[in-house]
Symmetry: C4
Subunit: 507 residues, 4 copies
């Protein structure tokens, strides 16, 4: 099926440097993108900047590896170029980028990173703005995004004392595979935005620290690169966006199984990708307004941000009826990622799946979806009531993700019945700020926190972290206060504490 092409010279490619005829080079291959210019989700301007040139460096972090081959029809794939004949693109370092490099140089020592929040604080300063916007943004008003974290703060501990906690053990099993902690690295897209090694940072850290990585469909690194980077025997899961073309999905799934993937997490909360307005707004800052208005009405809406751009293949028609087909094409355990009410968790159980991830996609899909930890409370209660199940349960495992920053958050989920908790953004921020050493530090922090908190809870093992160790009675309280009385408040003169005397001038 592969086409035969003659080897193009850099000189020849360089001639196609206009809107009328625009060729670009990516990974040593030449593509004619002239007709695609107005359809490019990132706008035409950024492509035209590389017209006739090598765009690989710009392309890599913000596209999955096969984006260009998938989106361009085969006849626009013009074949390989003689790389030594290609003129180097002179990278102009902007003042903004210089300032960023200075900030990178000013990062504090890793010893000063005390918690997962700290990675985020540093990442925000040292990542390119677009990359930060893509990672940190969420849906609409980002209410659900923040609620994911806030919900954990409505759960309080009921620790036990005078238990021998000399030895504490927070290792566990996830789908039957060992994990050094009740945490897995959940799937997140576009890892290269934060670090040139992208998802490989996660793969390597997972190996070193005995945790399981869930590989995303929309990785910046290719699936095989990630598998190749794994250690022998390293357990990995795979997150699947189901393609409208089931043959593609079948190929991907069976390839994953062949390569040894141990669990298939089918994303069910993203029939369409959410509006991440912070990400969308970021785009306009990079655009020339004149250019924008010229493009006019007929052109593609480029305001949808990186997320939408890379996800148009996802099938909104996926439904419960498809599960039978999945069972027919793979023997991997099937888990639904993105279940948000007990009714769907029950259905998944009744259909014989291996578990569900109670998740709202990190707050990036439906705003005002409830947090996974809140849904967990409801699911455990109802599946107990309807099917006599108790949790954690090896046969039907419950996972939650979203908003986790502390081992205490994880332990609350475990007490309430979760097998393990998915952590995403904090690891992205860890490698975006400090690369692989950041990953090591992140896991060290989590291990330290698990050890301390199990001791303080009076729980030598995770089995001892039981429902009565938490008070989650306020979990469903969605309170918005009565709007403030601005006139009364502005008239109120605050209490003041004692203050030092003003220095007096000498006589």
């Amino acid at each position: 099926m592969a086409q035969e092409h003659k080897l193009l010279s850099g000189k020849e490619v360089a001639l196609h440097n206009t809107r009328q005829s625009c060729w670009i080079i990516v990974h040593g291959n030449v593509y004619d993108v002239t007709d695609f210019l107005d359809d490019h989700p990132g706008g035409s301007k950024i492509i035209l900047k590389y017209a006739g040139k090598d765009a690989t460096q710009e392309y890599d972090p913000i596209h999955p590896p096969d984006a260009i081959t998938t989106n361009l029809p085969p006849e626009k794939h013009l074949g390989p170029v003689q790389l030594d004949t290609v003129e180097k693109v002179e990278v102009v370092i902007t003042d903004e980028e210089k300032a960023r490099q200075q900030r990178i140089a000013a990062r504090p020592s890793l010893d000063e990173i005390l918690n997962l929040h700290d990675f985020e604080a540093i990442a925000r300063k040292v990542m390119p703005d677009k990359a930060w916007a893509y990672y940190s943004s969420a849906a609409d008003d980002e209410i659900t995004n923040r609620e994911n974290h806030a919900a954990y703060h409505r759960i309080w501990f009921r620790p036990r004392v005078l238990r021998d906690v000399t030895k504490v053990d927070w290792s566990t099993k996830i789908l039957g595979y060992k994990s050094s902690m009740p945490v897995y690295i959940t799937a997140t897209a576009l890892g290269k935005l934060g670090h040139p090694d992208g998802e490989l940072n996660l793969t390597r850290a997972a190996a070193s620290h005995g945790v399981i990585q869930m590989i995303p469909t929309l990785a910046s690194c290719s699936f095989d690169e990630i598998l190749d980077a794994a250690q022998p025997g390293q357990v990995q899961f795979f997150q699947l966006y189901v393609n409208k073309d089931r043959n593609i999905t079948k190929r991907i799934v069976q390839h994953a199984e062949e390569r040894g993937i141990k669990g298939l997490f089918i994303t069910v909360d993203a029939p369409q990708l959410g509006r991440r307005e912070k990400d969308m707004r970021m785009k306009f800052e990079a655009e020339d307004p004149a250019e924008v208005s010229k493009a006019g009405k007929g052109s593609v809406d480029r305001s949808q941000g990186a997320a939408r751009a890379i996800s148009s293949f996802i099938d909104p028609g996926l439904n419960w009826g498809d599960l039978k087909w999945f069972k027919s094409i793979t023997k991997m355990p099937l888990i639904l990622k993105g279940v948000q009410c007990w009714e769907d968790a029950l259905e998944a159980y009744d259909q014989g799946l291996a578990g569900v991830v109670l998740s709202n996609h990190g707050g990036r899909q439906l705003d005002f979806a409830r947090s996974g930890i809140e849904v967990l409370v409801e699911v455990v209660a109802k599946l107990g009531e309807k099917r006599g199940l108790s949790f954690p349960n090896e046969k039907f495992q419950l996972f939650v993700d979203g908003g986790v920053r502390r081992a205490t958050d994880v332990l609350k989920a475990v007490a309430l019945g979760a097998t393990a908790v998915g952590v995403g953004r904090p690891f992205l921020y860890a490698f975006s700020s400090y690369g692989p050493e950041g990953m090591d530090k992140a896991f060290q922090i989590l291990h330290d926190e698990f050890e301390m908190n199990l001791r303080l809870l009076g729980a030598p093992t995770l089995k001892d972290v039981v429902p009565t160790m938490v008070d989650a009675s306020n979990i469903h309280s969605h309170i918005v206060s009565v709007p403030g009385d601005r006139l009364y408040d502005s008239n109120y003169e605050s209490m003041q504490h004692a203050t030092l005397r003003e220095p007096k001038t000498k006589l």
Copy 2:
């Protein structure tokens, strides 16, 4: 009844330019307003500025078209003027107005408007202060105004997954008429404050986008202008303030029916117009304090703002007994606009009306009235209990308005039983900031949001948006926190995250 007048010359009018004899020209007719000066709700100063001159430009945006003819006795209507003999009023452009014009020129491209909030942000910058004050102000401390929006945030979704949402359809019927979305343009006054075309912007957008406009009694454009601007077959509703003089009301209602109005929404929450203090305060900035104090005790209280000024005709005696009369003068379906508890909704049902709008008038009437969405929960429960009704219900339709900014807000109301939701201010802000293109964008945003959110809810049609898709259990929680402990809080030193190292000076 019309009086015969000789055509006056501009020169003659110009002589009456003092407090002792003050004539003004509006729409080519001359009026003697000498005796009215101290009764003018907007103060005498602004009239005296136009004494002997053409005041049309100043008059138009802040008065309903017939305000002057209604308020002045017939003998003060001095008849038409020879317009070519009238001296042009030299419009002095103030520095403030120049700055506003610069802000208008600096509006971002419409592509950068991502949600309905954005129109409000831009409108606030580009509208004249008085116009902004009139649109945005609400009653007393504006608690209810903000609660209207806040209440939606106490309702959370319970989305379903694995449903085929390839095709999603958010069209519906309102009083039996098709609407492209479960939203109608609700009645709001004085559209010309925001744009010279006033309410016509709404009429035209309603036609283009397949939604229904509710025409306000207090429009800046005349009723017939608005009807004339409609497309053939375009469905429109009419909002009615009932006049103390029932003959006037009868004439208005029957005229509306003749012109094809499909539903009569009788406002019942405004026997007297609310105190909108933000609007009232704005007035004083335009006044000369010396003038104000001279006027003294005897004069009319001019501190009531635009709202009160135009509404003195409304009948506070309107009561349930009047409904029979309404049924006798029109066959249009009757809907009460402004119902605020289940008891009155039940009465409306028992009296055979077509529906009720659960509304507090956008927070502009009684402060501490509950939000429409909160009242909806109570009405659905009680009418189910007392009359066995379920909602949405074609026979007795429930509407809510107030505080809506997102399609998610609308979908929450639909899930809870509303047929459709009225949106007012966001559309005013859309045309006030960007004219008709703003309206188009506003509807495009809503359509985009409906499509995405129905997919993410797992609801192919509005019928699938059912009560179990939301958790509204906190809707009645009106929480005001215990006042803060200022001494404790001021002593607390906040946690700090890791920070970049300070740059060092070179050796």
Copy 3:
């Protein structure tokens, strides 16, 4: 009993101008305060400033008229001085006072005062700091003080529509006496701090506006001055602090009855006056620290502020057993002011009193006492349950005070069973900022608000303001949120709305 004194000359008095012998003149009489210097609650410094001089101007606003005669033993009352021989005290106007006078001159016109909050905003700017501190301060952390207002915001309306509200009437009866509104002027101390006419402002406004004034024991004006200022037939109540010396109390009570007082409100929430730290802190700013430290340990604690200083006579031994005695000395109806739970309200009822004021003394006594409006809900429920009473009730009347700023606040109390509501500070701020015209405006605002709100509630009279018109189900919710997650919050990057383009420099 009166002593005979020879008329002293100013010259003679002027000799006693030292700490060793310190005489002062107040209202034309001379007092030897040498031994009292260290006991003066306001410190010795301020007295020594007037040693040998006329201190009347300084004395008047911050002392009840009989403070000096009561506190000094009779032998220190040296008799009258020849006033024309007394040297005038040169009043030095400080820069601070000059600035205050400029602020007074810059007050906005009364037309710009739109609500009771506005008086407070202006009073804060134009009152002397000490006076503001005395009026505005409350107990401890001022939690109860602010809760008094906040509690009203937890009560929401359920208004009715389509009722004939052409005529609305908010007049009522209090203890059988007509009042133009369900509001009375409650007792507050030291009226001259805010205006030279002190409490007479209240007396006169009460007459003009048809409301009832409750005269305070600790008025700046004498009881008889206040009575003399009343109009014929004007109804007044009296607030009583009970003296340890019951003979004094008996004399006061019987004098009040003779002068026609119609109700005796016995304060029961102040066996000791609360710590008003804002007031206490203010004192130190006026003191010379050197002086303060010299005084040392032995001296009186002068840090207690004005409140404590004037209240040492109050009897902490007052108890239920005393009520019989009160009934024996007066026929005036007896009302307990400061009841704070249903148990005490029930006891008052059982003892045959005329009513209770549910009050926490404006938040100036026990911090974390609940608001009167909250206690009202409990009292109405329990007295209904235990004694079959319903409210409002002519035989046993319930009043509340504290935190009222709007007619809506009052109407909430009426709906819940109160006969009337006491308003204190807002009237102090009204006359402190604008004198008697301020009082007129304050009542005009209240009347306007009552008229509008009764219409908007659908209640032609106060009898129509019934319990189902409010939802007070959250009244007992004393919520303090979980402390904020400062690290998470500081990492969160807020959503931003669309913004105007930055102005570009010309070519």
Copy 4:
């Protein structure tokens, strides 16, 4: 067992001033700390600064007296030095320290200290940063730390009126011993950080003011110093961290009993010390980053702050089985300090202990542990239900600590069943800001507050402070609001009150 050493000369010691051989002098004894440098929890840098010199002044405030002898093996104890031959360490006063000294000089007079908050406000300004960080820091995000105080604000009073409160008495008995108030000084570590006399300030104030001090295991002063400072007959308790080496613990306990300690409070909430990140972060500011990175991976993690450094001896294996042994070695009443749920309180009761302290260690251990006052409500209810106990109870006493700042806080705990309340940080801040006079003032404030509040509650004695005097129905409400709608809020234009006119320039 003591080794014999020859007396070393200062000169000889001074030779060992390098990383290769590092001796220091503490309290006249020489120690070889060369091998310990990299294990020092405070980092090597600070030790190397004193290499070959006398480190006593630096050592004293931040180490318990026996820290060095315990941590260094006996062979590194090189014996006494001839003190007169030791070179004085020249203390360089930094600019920062100079500024601090100026702040100390500018402290307000003690008369201006009105409440316990004020000590904290001043202490924060005048303490060295490290000391402030150690005292004020708490675990993780310091949520529990602040919740401890916040929880009291969810409890409101139901005061009684008309009770004779002429005499009020707030004295009580704790474990049978008299206390002038229902407060004891709870155990806190490292008192010399705040004042050179350290814990002796507490001992002396306890004697003067008739309260009981609980002596901490981790005091800066030695146990015997503290006992020696007590007055004859002064009652003291002892807080015990249980050592892994039970012989050490046995020796300590029996020594305490011999010296007359009246109660043994065994800490059970600290099998491992919590992460106090504010304290940890402080460390890095004192370190040279170059030094930090050189130390590299192999070295001890010095980021754990002062708390962890001094607590490594604590036995995480301590369990219920150990209680029998404790009973065998002492006759002192045994109380568990740090119980956090009713189940453990019940177990303590069933095991025959004398009481429990419901405490989370001032928020310094497990974050999201509930406040002691919240746990109290649960314990009283359940021990009533399960064992028929009522509280306060002489046989099994309940104590709470954490977050107390006002006598009202204490009285809430008493009303709910506590025998007494432990106060820690406020006393540290009192002596850190004002030394012993600060302690006197702190107790005077508490006495004043108790007197006033008992009067205002209508409770002549603590026995009259009963459960119905408080409403604690919201104590278990752990509310975190729905995250704010930033776009809506940023568009909302706040109400403004009336303002003064801008000054006009003269003509």
